[in-house]
């Protein structure tokens, strides 16, 4: 099987998964206790009955449930997530918030990878020596430290005491340098937990690969140790790291929710918390769907990266 067929096959497999995601997200609305319209209107006994009726129409609540689903899905596919009586057009709410979250997630991600991979490689090459022990302890701290606590501590030390960073985001555009500077603390907070785990996976995977015979062959060829490790061993060890990295998308996303609140970051996570507080169910539904889809996509990308790393998977 060629690479192209592998990719096509893998893409087709996404369809049923996305279908499942959409069904579960759709059921959020159905599983809410009580009348969904009352909930959406904030359980206000004085609510305008006309508004309630309009909402009922809009959600097609008079139709059978499968029709409701299909109509909802048709809307979603056109990026129409409905109209919330509280915050207005859901798509617009999401679109204005999304870039901030993507930026935070991406930076946290990059920080995790940039720290974890070299640290893991270094620990593996110096197995059972001081560097390995230090990395082990650091990883333990990283995994054991709750995100919100670390965020608060960083704010306390670097923003309040040292004054290196502002404590609330500056009022400038997202890609402005001072904004990126501000973003550093939340991104570090977000990246740390993942760094610790990724580094351990990187190390153990590399230690295992270093004992394989092809490593001896590579050394017997006279290759410098650097090439042996960074060319031959690294690529083989990355396969399990990619798996974990993809699975960690979920923890990056839920980490972002907490961190955005701690750092008053105007992203989707903060919006999600607000929406939950206000029972703004349409916004919750939209964000949950988006998170679900992004995790599916992350896993799809991981599978494509596998195929690129390891030719045996393509066939």
């Amino acid at each position: 099987m060629s690479l192209r067929r592998y990719v096509i096959k893998r893409l087709l497999m996404v369809i049923p998964v996305l279908f499942g995601v959409s069904v579960i997200t759709f059921s959020i609305m159905q599983l809410v206790p009580g009348d969904i319209v009352d909930v959406l209107l904030g359980m206000d006994p004085n609510a305008d009955p006309e508004a309630a009726e309009r909402l009922r129409q809009e959600l097609h609540l008079d139709r059978p449930i499968w029709e409701q689903y299909l109509l909802w899905l048709a809307g979603v596919l056109q990026l129409d997530f409905g109209f919330s009586p509280i915050t207005g057009d859901v798509s617009e709410t999401i679109v204005t918030r999304l870039p901030a979250t993507i930026l935070l997630g991406a930076m946290g991600w990059v920080i995790a990878l940039v720290l974890a991979i070299p640290a893991g490689v270094y620990a593996a090459v110096n197995k059972d020596e001081l560097a390995d022990d230090v990395s082990r302890i650091a990883a333990l701290f990283g995994i054991a430290t709750p995100n919100f606590w670390l965020g608060l501590m960083l704010l306390l030390v670097f923003s309040l005491w040292l004054g290196w960073f502002p404590s609330i985001p500056p009022d400038v555009s997202l890609l402005h340098p001072s904004m990126l500077w501000y973003l550093l603390l939340p991104a570090i907070t977000l990246g740390t937990a993942s760094t610790a785990l990724l580094m351990r996976i990187m190390r153990s995977s590399m230690v295992e690969e270093l004992n394989k015979e092809y490593v001896r062959t590579a050394r017997a060829k006279g290759l410098p140790e650097r090439t042996v490790v960074l060319k031959h061993v690294l690529r083989n060890s990355l396969i399990s790291v990619v798996t974990v990295a993809a699975l960690m998308t979920a923890s990056i996303v839920d980490g972002a929710v907490v961190i955005e609140v701690v750092f008053s970051w105007p992203g989707l996570g903060e919006q999600l918390i607000t929406a939950i507080g206000q029972r703004d169910l349409l916004v919750v539904q939209g964000i949950v769907l988006l998170v679900g889809v992004s995790i599916v996509i992350a896993n799809l990308l991981a599978d494509l990266v596998y195929a690129w790393l390891d030719p045996r998977i393509r066939y």
Partner: protein, 363 residues
């Protein structure tokens, strides 16, 4: 000056269970273009000897003593940079299991070309051309197409051919083959041995062939060293090993080779297993398994001596040596075995070594 001279090599592994004397006082030499066999059971120290020559002993192993002179220069004195320039270019190695010896995520061609670029300084294209030429030399059909194939797309025999191409790609003077055919089936084994033999002659490469199979040695080698528990126990030209083995362990190895037309119902085996290298038995390490062992074998460690004269034969240049007290005059009885040779002329003709009498085994 011989191509390779190993003198009194000692390698120890410092494990949690104790110190393993993996190689203990091994000396041998290999001349240019010569084919030298190293034979013994698993754990005899053959592979460790070979890896020492490449300076590829990993922790917790240490080369503790001796010299390894390659073209007169002691490899053990070289720094990492110098030894790297020899690895793969002047001394190359073919490993036991080609499937695991090749990196699964790089194409076979790239893995060969890599060494060529490194040692011969070829650019990408020239290295590619030479790789294709090497693949053709080792008998891989459509080498240009198979250049970009990955190891898993090759059969076991093809993989070993590719590994041989890799080893010979920089035209080394010494090729160390560590059980190169153990992982292959018998028909492929014969092809690979023939290929090695042919290419070594063509390239003028000396071979150190490590194997547990005396049949393979007979096919290929000029001289042989038999190892047991980290020590050399017999050294001889290949004919002598077959027609006139001197050490009871060698005799045991010979009689455990099955042959066509064999009248015996069961395979002859050497009783027992190789001793624990951390706690070697006192005296001769082989005595618990030796049918001719006497009281004295538990007390004196036999030196490697010339079996004819009893003169010491420990040195690098000794042609013939056997480590058995029978040749130092310490043994009371004679070694009671006879060697029958059936058929003549061809080196690998059917031979039979039979034990006539067994000694006292309850020492």
């Amino acid at each position: 000056m011989a191509l390779l001279e190993v003198e009194d090599l000692e390698v120890r592994f410092y494990t949690e269970d104790g110190v393993v004397n993996a190689v203990d006082g091994v000396s041998y030499r290999i001349e240019r273009g010569e084919k030298f066999g190293v034979v013994g059971e698993s754990g005899a120290g053959k592979s460790v000897t070979a890896l020492s020559v490449m300076r590829l002993i990993d922790n917790p192993g240490q080369i503790e003593g001796g010299e390894i002179r390659f073209k007169g220069e002691n490899l053990l004195d070289m720094d990492e940079e110098e030894i790297r320039s020899i690895r793969g270019s002047e001394i190359a190695m073919v490993f036991q299991d080609a499937q695991t010896a090749l990196n699964p995520v790089y194409s076979v061609g790239e893995q060969i070309a890599e060494a060529i670029r490194l040692h011969l300084g070829y650019d990408d294209e020239a290295a590619r051309d030479r790789t294709i030429e090497m693949l053709e030399r080792v008998g891989i059909p459509d080498p240009a197409d198979r250049y970009s194939d990955y190891p898993h797309q090759f059969s076991g025999g093809m993989q070993q051919r590719a590994v041989i191409a890799m080893a010979l790609s920089c035209d080394p003077d010494l090729l160390i083959c560590d059980e190169p055919t153990t992982a292959l089936d018998v028909t492929i084994e014969a092809q690979i041995l023939e290929l090695l033999d042919e290419l070594a002659d063509e390239f003028g490469t000396a071979i150190q062939l490590i194997t547990h199979d005396l049949g393979v040695v007979a096919e290929t080698c000029d001289r042989v060293m038999v190892m047991y528990a980290g020590k050399p126990v017999e050294k001889a030209p290949v004919e002598d090993i077959y027609y006139d083995p001197k050490m009871p362990y060698t005799v045991g190895l010979m009689s455990s080779i099955p042959r066509i037309g064999d009248e015996r119902d069961r395979l002859q085996t050497i009783p027992g297993t190789m001793p624990d290298l951390i706690q070697l038995p006192p005296g001769c390490s082989f005595h618990p398994r030796c049918p001719y062992a006497e009281e004295v074998c538990t007390q004196i460690e036999p030196p490697l001596v010339d079996p004819e004269t009893g003169e010491p034969a420990e040195g690098v240049d000794a042609e013939r040596g056997a480590a058995c007290l029978a040749y130092t005059g310490d043994l009371q009885n004679e070694l009671g075995y006879e060697v029958h040779v059936e058929g003549e002329s061809h080196r690998s003709a059917v031979r039979d070594v039979e034990e006539i009498t067994g000694g006292d085994t309850d020492v």
